[in-house]
């Protein structure tokens, strides 16, 4: 087991990146922090700077305008980190599949920056807070075995 990925799985600090989403997924991410769902049980907390982030929670299908900003966030984050694509748009572009102004999904953009970045896909429109927490915990448990 790699101790760096073990550390991330034990204390995932979440940074929230909106790449053109309709705000539904954003509100569900904020729901994860409320008393009912309390993501701090797993050590997670929302941080304000990508330098502190371990998990980038990306929502939205990545519009042309937001792509360079998202790439800058990926470069500014301290490695190792993982990316969680929250919502159907971020996972597979969803209803924006043939839209001219969207360049997603998230995995496609992260692969152009660095092929080794691990991407968790959490589908749903929007995913329920339970689904987000379940996706995070499943992904972080797998993370203990792999190198990030």
């Amino acid at each position: 087991m790699n101790w760096k990925s073990w550390g991330i799985s034990k204390s995932p600090w979440l940074y929230h990146v909106n790449t053109g989403s309709c705000n539904n997924c954003d509100i569900e991410i904020v729901d994860c922090l409320t008393p009912k769902f309390d993501v701090e049980r797993f050590g997670g907390k929302l941080v304000g700077s990508p330098r502190h982030a371990d998990v980038l929670m990306v929502t939205g299908p990545i519009t042309r305008k937001s792509k360079p900003r998202f790439e800058r966030v990926l470069e500014a984050s301290a490695k190792p980190f993982i990316v969680a694509a929250v919502g159907t748009c971020a996972c597979s572009k969803g209803m924006f599949h043939d839209a001219y102004n969207c360049v997603g999904p998230v995995r496609k953009v992260t692969e152009t920056v660095d092929e080794d970045i691990m991407v968790l896909n959490i589908p749903g429109c929007p995913p329920r807070p339970e689904a987000i927490i379940d996706g995070l915990v499943t992904g972080l448990n797998q993370l203990k075995e792999v190198e990030v």
Partner: protein, 309 residues
């Protein structure tokens, strides 16, 4: 001799002890906050996980920063608090004390805030220099009432040694209890807790002075914060509440420490954040007159020879 010195610095009152108690105290802060907010809260070793993870991450040096001060600044906080912790614990536990050690501890307690200011100023990020600016303003605000309250305690107990405070609890007099209230509010600001968390305001400054720090250097700031959670309440307990001693006295002292800590957490969780100017007004027009009153009462009590004033 050298062996016992190394033991002092790295094991018992030093690094290992301070870190262990700091981790538990930090967990208590998060758990009690969670319980007040009707949540479950993090597991016991969560602060330790956080620090272990931060030491495994990449250390980014921002391109616009002044590298040397950026790299050196995080070291001052833990170093100062480590020395303060050793002086405080040895004065309580072994009774070893020297004239003026309370002043030494006061100066050492300034170091964490200075290290945050220096680090924030050297990153070249506008948000972090704004945070440093606010931290500096907050320091100007809380140092005055803190020093007045400690001076009142010194006059009240009649000595500059930490041991003289522990002989009889200062808080058992009117001047001592007023000074204790003022000093508790200053400690709240020194720890950077709500209502005095303008420097790190997460919702507007995104972490303030620490915004550009990542990896091990951020971990050092976190270590400095959790050492502060041990040292600052312990300083209050020593100066105002009679400290602790060996045997059953250690348990009684730990109880007093936990009470001060829980008081700080309750203030943290039941108040909104003050603006910088409101905090300055609060300390200069609210806490400082209180501490001054406590000092005047202590001097008068000393002159007419009444112990309880």
């Amino acid at each position: 001799m050298v062996g016992s010195l190394v033991f002092d610095f790295f094991v018992f009152p030093g690094l290992v002890f301070t870190l262990a108690v700091g981790i538990i105290a930090s967990w208590v802060v998060r758990k009690v906050s969670a319980l007040i907010q009707w949540r479950v809260g993090p597991p016991l070793l969560q602060p330790a996980y956080d620090i272990a993870k931060l030491f495994g991450k990449e250390n980014i040096i921002p391109s616009g920063s002044s590298e040397w001060s950026y790299l050196i600044a995080p070291l001052f906080g833990p170093a100062g608090l480590l020395l303060a912790s050793i002086i405080l614990v040895k004065a309580n536990y072994l009774g070893t004390s020297f004239i003026g050690d309370v002043i030494v501890v006061l100066y050492l307690l300034v170091l964490p805030a200075l290290s945050v200011i220096l680090g924030g100023m050297s990153t070249g990020n506008p948000l972090s220099s704004m945070g440093s600016n606010r931290e500096l303003r907050l320091m100007v605000a809380y140092e005055l009432p803190l020093l007045l309250a400690i001076t009142a305690a010194i006059v009240n107990s009649g000595g500059l040694k930490l041991v003289t405070f522990t002989a009889q609890p200062v808080v058992a007099s009117i001047s001592g209890s007023l000074g204790f209230v003022a000093a508790l509010l200053c400690i709240q600001a020194e720890l950077g807790f709500i209502p005095f968390d303008t420097p790190e305001a997460e919702t507007e400054l995104m972490g303030g002075p620490l915004i550009e720090y990542s990896g091990p250097l951020l971990g050092l700031y976190k270590i400095s914060h959790l050492m502060g959670l041990l040292v600052l309440p312990l300083f209050l307990v020593t100066v105002f509440l009679g400290g602790f001693s060996t045997g059953w006295g250690a348990l009684w002292g730990a109880l007093k420490y936990v009470l001060v800590l829980v008081g700080i957490i309750l203030i943290k969780n039941t108040n909104p954040r003050l603006r910088s100017d409101q905090a300055l007004k609060f300390f200069w027009y609210g806490a400082a007159p209180l501490a001054l009153l406590s000092l005047v009462l202590a001097v008068v009590g000393n002159l007419i020879g009444l112990g309880w004033v």
